[in-house]
């Protein structure tokens, strides 16, 4: 699919790892700044990460404190108004970022990890194992995600932990196919042959040799997954299947919808968390889109009428 940013070392992995890392980071930075979409996306994600880490710096009200006037419109005191119980919407939005971001990041990471293990094992070990793992992947790809999520979520006790579990179960298969085909293309490389001759175990080869060479694809998978996880997590909570006492954007949407916010004119209460979810999704999508362009030069935007270097 995409060409890795870091060229796979054909020789033994004893080239100074730190040197490789620095070089890779420099490449990354250049790639990001050179691509408008990447810049926008990374900026969005950085802002969200900052808000998640330091909510107190931005919003000073306690998001749970139901002490203000109910259903107030937006004003300088309450930037986004108040809820039907008298809580400050802006504070809820800011403080809700953390748990939302945590859920998305944790799920995407775990699902990518599972995806990778299964995809690469299938690719490397091949044969029977490959057939069964591919079958497993296909089955999970076909099972419709949101219905499966709803079925699982309605039976497990509500909460962030359950949500993480059910999301991982339903989303791991999304990227497994690509990871498997990447694994297939790496399978015949010399350095792997060298490792096999050395007598290394299969699990070592998979984890310590193949995986580090797939970093760029793993990152791409993580990002691609994150776009969907954001929507699914928010969707589950919006339906009321999350835990309503935990502060996330999704539960804000649930309360706003249940209390008829849109119809009764308290629009920021329902639109603001919706915007936030869309923003996070867009951030990941932009970076993902740009990643594909960076990795596959054929996809890069053709810039006309901007004569850069002479022929």
């Amino acid at each position: 699919m995409s060409v890795p940013l870091i060229s796979a070392a054909e020789t033994t992995p004893n080239v100074a790892a730190s040197q490789r890392l620095v070089g890779a980071l420099r490449n990354l930075l250049r790639a990001i700044l050179g691509n408008r979409k990447a810049t926008a996306g990374v900026l969005i994600l950085l802002i969200l990460a900052f808000v998640a880490a330091f909510p107190g710096l931005i919003a000073h009200d306690n998001p749970q404190a139901a002490i203000y006037g109910v259903n107030l419109g937006s004003s300088s005191r309450h930037l986004l108004g108040t809820t039907t119980v008298g809580q400050d919407v802006f504070s809820q939005l800011i403080w809700g970022t953390r748990l939302t971001v945590i859920i998305v990041v944790v799920v995407s990471a775990i699902a990518t990890f599972i995806s990778m293990i299964i995809g690469v094992t299938a690719a490397y070990v091949g044969g029977f194992t490959d057939r069964w793992l591919s079958l497993l992947t296909d089955v999970f790809l076909i099972l419709p995600t949101l219905p499966l999520l709803i079925v699982l979520a309605s039976y497990l006790p509500s909460g962030a932990m359950s949500m993480i579990i059910v999301l991982c179960i339903t989303c791991w298969a999304f990227q497994a196919r690509q990871l498997r085909s990447q694994g297939m293309s790496l399978r015949s490389r010399d350095f792997l042959l060298a490792a096999r001759i050395r007598g290394e175990r299969t699990s070592y080869i998979i984890l310590a040799e193949i995986v580090p060479n797939m970093t760029s694809l793993l990152v791409a998978s993580f990002l691609g997954l994150a776009v969907f996880v954001v929507g699914f997590a928010a969707g589950l909570q919006f339906l009321g299947l999350g835990n309503s006492s935990q502060m996330t954007w999704g539960t804000m949407l649930y309360y706003a919808e249940s209390n008829g916010a849109l119809e009764s004119g308290n629009i920021w209460w329902i639109l603001a968390p919706g915007f936030a979810v869309a923003l996070m999704g867009a951030g990941f999508a932009l970076v993902n889109y740009a990643f594909d362009e960076i990795g596959n030069p054929a996809l890069r935007p053709v810039r006309k009428r901007r004569a850069r270097t002479p022929a």
Partner: protein
């Protein structure tokens, strides 16, 4: 009363003949031209499309048949209390009833001249058959009349041509409500030919009853009712019912249902409308009204088996720490009045209420004192803990989908935190929620109206007995409270005179305040919106002749016999 009278006169077309708080059936309201006509559209969201089944014993479906098609023996208006301490009873399919043998025998005289909607005559045999069918099928006996503690029904028999005698094993005067008001009478000539062991599964698609309406047609989205032109209450010159057609559309969620009301396409609403004054009333203030009479408590139930919650000090602290008016205003948008620790719903049951007993009211500093006196100390995180280091930190379960309860719990959480008690709300789907309530697998629970079992009735006895009588542990006694002296009070109530019953109720209130077996927070209401430009005869706060919600059974049928078209 006088101020209210003036108010009703101001509202055009809506002068009701209210007199001293007691409503009667026979008088026509002013503005009633005794004409027949018009159409009434109902706005009640049930969350599902219609199944077109009308079995009156199926509590998932009977809101569409009980009252409209099926009727009770006598109607008890739980919203009114006469000066002698009883609720007004209106003869319906029975013309009267008497208790005898120390309240162990109840004899009904059955009305003559009533016809089933298929033309066959209604007789006392139908009444006997109905109750015998309930005996044979526990699934039909929704109020457990044949199996209840301390006074189960032992026999139902015909006496003479038109009397039915109910024999109980103990004095159970309060059970009159369930026998007379809550049981739909079914036609023997139709039901007796069905599989008697499986009556609950009978879908009853074309219900035959004695009621004011017939089911004209039913589709997934709408039930159409047509007036029963042979209804037994009709007299020459006084046709009953007067509204010709009813539409009962199915709504999957509250938004489109609320919209029907707001846009004026429905006239009888059973919805908790958000911002009702601005979204509904303001659109047509002359004719749009709402009234939410309180009928039961919504409470915090501590599991008394929990070692920390078994300490009276902790429960007292919880009750002292919450500001019920604040929770009512924020959590319930002011629609549900604040409750009180005696457990008596006001103003509905003020006859039984003794104000001097209500000594546990909002006082957070006293909560602190009580906890410290009991040996609790605040930890570094601001939460009290006992000598062994056990924190006053609990989970409280509630039902998914009750957004107002979630909101109330947000406020409660905050107020309890201020006195060093921490609670975390957990939403559960209604199935696991009910299981947890019954089996006592919870620490705190938020429950009450909307819970699984009937606790409404014409006095606080019904709710409080359900929640406090030890025989109900495992069903409605969520806290698992058990006290022989309290049990004795309830048992004595069954055999007491109305005046004695008030005294006994005061003693039960004292138990509520002294022992704090549970903590009432707000009062659950009947949701009711109506417009009286085209339809008159509604129950109001000034004339509470029936519970007004379209889902209150059989009160909905009583209301239908009162409504009339305004041209």
């Amino acid at each position: 009363m006088r101020g209210r009278r003036v108010l009703t006169l101001i509202v055009a077309f809506c002068a009701l003949a209210a007199a001293g708080g007691q409503a009667t059936i026979a008088t026509s309201a002013a503005g009633n031209t005794e004409k027949v006509g018009g159409k009434l559209v109902i706005a009640n969201e049930t969350g599902a499309t219609w199944t077109c089944q009308f079995n009156p014993f199926n509590s998932a479906l009977n809101f569409a048949s009980m009252g409209f098609v099926y009727e009770p023996l006598e109607f008890v208006d739980i919203l009114e209390t006469k000066s002698n301490g009883t609720s007004p009873v209106t003869p319906w399919l029975a013309t009267g009833s008497t208790w005898s043998n120390n309240d162990t025998t109840l004899t009904f005289t059955i009305r003559s001249g009533v016809k089933w909607s298929d033309g066959k005559p209604f007789t006392a045999n139908d009444v006997v058959y109905t109750f015998d069918a309930m005996k044979a099928n526990a699934t039909l006996d929704v109020d457990a009349l044949w199996s209840v503690h301390g006074g189960a029904l032992t026999n139902v028999a015909l006496q003479g041509a038109n009397q039915v005698v109910f024999t109980f094993s103990g004095p159970v005067e309060p059970y009159f409500y369930y026998v007379a008001d809550q049981t739909p009478i079914i036609p023997q000539h139709i039901w007796a030919s069905l599989d008697q062991s499986n009556l609950i599964s009978y879908s009853d698609p074309n219900p035959v009853g004695t009621g004011p309406y017939l089911v004209k047609s039913c589709s997934l989205d709408n039930i159409k009712y047509l007036r029963n032109s042979h209804y037994w209450q009709s007299k020459p010159g006084h046709p009953v019912p007067q509204i010709e057609e009813l539409d009962y559309p199915a709504f999957l969620s509250s938004t489109p249902c609320n919209l029907e009301l707001i846009q004026g396409q429905a006239q009888w609403g059973g919805q908790p409308l958000p911002n009702i004054k601005t979204s509904y009333v303001a659109k047509d203030p002359a004719f749009r009204h709402y009234w939410f009479p309180p009928v039961e408590d919504v409470s915090i139930f501590p599991n008394l088996a929990n070692p920390l919650l078994s300490k009276l000090a902790v429960r007292q602290a919880i009750s002292l720490a919450i500001s019920r008016p604040d929770i009512a205003k924020r959590g319930e948008s002011g629609y549900e009045p604040p409750a009180n620790q005696t457990g008596v719903v006001l103003p509905t049951f003020k006859k039984w209420y003794e104000p001097s007993l209500n000594t546990v009211t909002y006082d957070p500093s006293k909560a602190d004192q009580i906890l410290e006196a009991a040996g609790f100390k605040k930890g570094s995180n601001g939460i009290y803990q006992d000598a062994q280091g056990q924190q006053l930190s609990f989970t409280i379960i509630t039902v998914s989908g009750f957004a107002d309860w979630d909101s109330s719990l947000q406020v409660i959480t905050q107020e309890l935190k201020a006195v060093g008690i921490q609670i975390t709300a957990e939403d559960e789907n209604s199935g696991p929620y009910v299981t947890a309530l019954e089996s006592g697998s919870f620490q705190l629970a938020y429950a009450g109206g909307g819970g699984p079992y009937p606790v409404d009735g014409p006095s606080p006895y019904y709710e409080l007995r359900g929640l406090l009588f030890s025989g109900n542990i495992g069903s409605t006694d969520y806290s698992r409270y058990s006290s022989p002296s309290t049990d004795a009070l309830f048992n004595a109530y069954g055999a007491a005179t109305p005046a004695q019953q008030v005294t006994i109720m005061h003693q039960i209130e004292k138990v509520m305040v002294d022992d704090i077996p549970f903590i009432p927070v707000t009062e659950g209401v009947s949701w009711f919106e109506y417009e009286n430009q085209h339809i008159g005869g509604w129950p109001t706060a000034a004339n509470p002749y029936a519970q007004p919600a379209v889902y209150n059974l059989p009160d909905d049928g009583i209301i239908l016999t009162h409504l009339y078209p305004i041209s």
